[in-house]
Symmetry: C2
Subunit: 287 residues, 2 copies
């Protein structure tokens, strides 16, 4: 199935244009799943796997997608990579849309290898970096896969390159947006959205609206809501209409909820429910 | 030891400002190391490990560095990642400078995880993508590590973004070069070179010379020589003087030499020797 059509179906089925980000860090795990030896890579990998499986099982029916941060697993070498395989397989099996947040970017056979690797992992989507141009993007759209390319990021130093002004008046981020819109035009599904989406941080709503106009068929993957300072107006600007065309992500605020004791999985489930309700209140869509 | 000082010592010791790229592809392996089952990931991972270890053992004293393409190993999942760990450990142990060609790029704790992961793998250097600004670069310079940031790539679509002209007259690649020069200024070693280097494809010598002037303390990692069309003039422009300041890489022309039969390791050793001699003839340096 076309990855954008699949994602739109997920949003419709769950009523939640949300993505739960899995960025597991050993130091923040609930006591019940902490590693027996925090200095041992295998023990840490097992712990983040237990935690991640618990998160997937707790939220898969409450969000359109889950996004797994590759760095958190790669950190622990081959045992971490094996844990990542099992978590992604579990997510894929649950029916949720699966985003491999790896920010890969290479060319030729290397890009093909990364794309095939992501497919073998069970990812519907991979996040990618388009600095190398179409050679670094198109391989990630083969075989029915989808990709979210970094366009505008919300980190403090994101401006250093992305906000530079070109001679033709566009910002660098807008030039990347035009490239993404052009490359994605040939892979628009029945939903009206392309298998090439864009990562657009929830920073300034005026900028998000301008990028939305440049990429009418791209699904926006929007980090930065809540903890990182994104507001309701920022989020609203990312959608095409209602709850269509954007996927708002939250990681820490959902997977490390501030609850006083009790079952950690229930607390995460409550946080994912609350997150979906917040986005629904902003964007509309079915409750 | 400072990674740039280490690399300069390696160039002096081997008389070869060269890097052998390990991009193993199952279809091109010598008959002696092909996988027993080319459709099985574990069998393929074992085959590329046998091959890669053979390449490292054959070339480590003939080149300053080896560069391992992460995608070729990630392609085969956890068994591929485990193979990559062993190949990198072997390379590290041999004394050659080790470059993890992963083109990673993320921010915050994720960037720290990638950097720590690369260190655990034994890499002296990691290739990175600077689209996210300093947040995506500085973590890779911690703990005595070095990084090569993508500045100008030689692939056909590299121009799409990198050659765009800014309002201030610079190209996007030149703006990235200025960012790299600025971020790397505080980590210059006794050799006069920074632990933050630059990937600059061997495309046009005039462009390379302009980037060289903007990044006087950056070691240039230069792919694209030979097979991809880079010329002697292109290569010469990357060095600061003599054989200083650049590392010319070749992958396919060395690891898949066109020789008629015989010992594949001897053929690779001969190709690495020939490659070093070519670069020495262009750049000078001790024979």
């Amino acid at each position: 199935m076309h990855p954008a059509d699949h994602l739109c179906e997920r949003v419709a089925a769950t009523g939640a244009a949300t993505c739960v980000g899995l960025d597991p860090v050993v130091e923040r795990l609930p006591a019940a799943v902490r590693p027996s030896d925090p200095l041992d890579a295998r023990s840490c990998a097992e712990a983040i796997e237990r935690f991640s499986v618990g998160v997937v099982d707790s939220v898969h029916d409450l969000c359109a997608a889950v996004k797994l941060q590759a760095a958190c697993f790669e950190r622990y070498g081959a045992p971490g990579f094996a844990a990542m395989e099992r978590v992604l397989a579990r997510a894929r099996q649950s029916g949720v849309a699966v985003i491999f947040d790896a920010k890969r970017g290479d060319i030729g056979i290397s890009a093909e290898h990364y794309a095939n690797g992501a497919r073998a992992l069970g990812a519907h989507w991979t996040t990618i970096n388009g600095y190398l141009g179409s050679d670094g993007i198109e391989p990630f759209l083969a075989n029915g896969q989808g990709a979210f390319a970094l366009v505008r990021t919300s980190n403090p130093s994101g401006d250093a390159l992305q906000a530079l002004r070109l001679a033709d008046g566009r910002s660098v981020a807008e030039a990347v947006a035009d490239m993404i819109a052009s490359l994605g035009a040939s892979s628009v599904g029945g939903s009206g959205f392309s298998s090439l989406g864009a990562v657009v941080g929830a920073t300034k709503s005026a900028e998000i609206a301008a990028l939305r106009a440049r990429m009418p068929h791209a699904i926006f993957l929007v980090p930065g809501y809540g903890a990182q300072g994104g507001t309701a107006d920022d989020v609203r600007a990312a959608f095409t209409r209602g709850d269509q065309g954007a996927l708002i992500t939250a990681s820490r605020s959902v997977i490390y909820p501030q609850s006083g004791g009790g079952d950690w999985r229930a607390a995460i489930r409550a946080a994912a429910t609350q997150f979906a309700a917040e986005i629904r209140a902003i964007a509309g869509g079915r409750a």
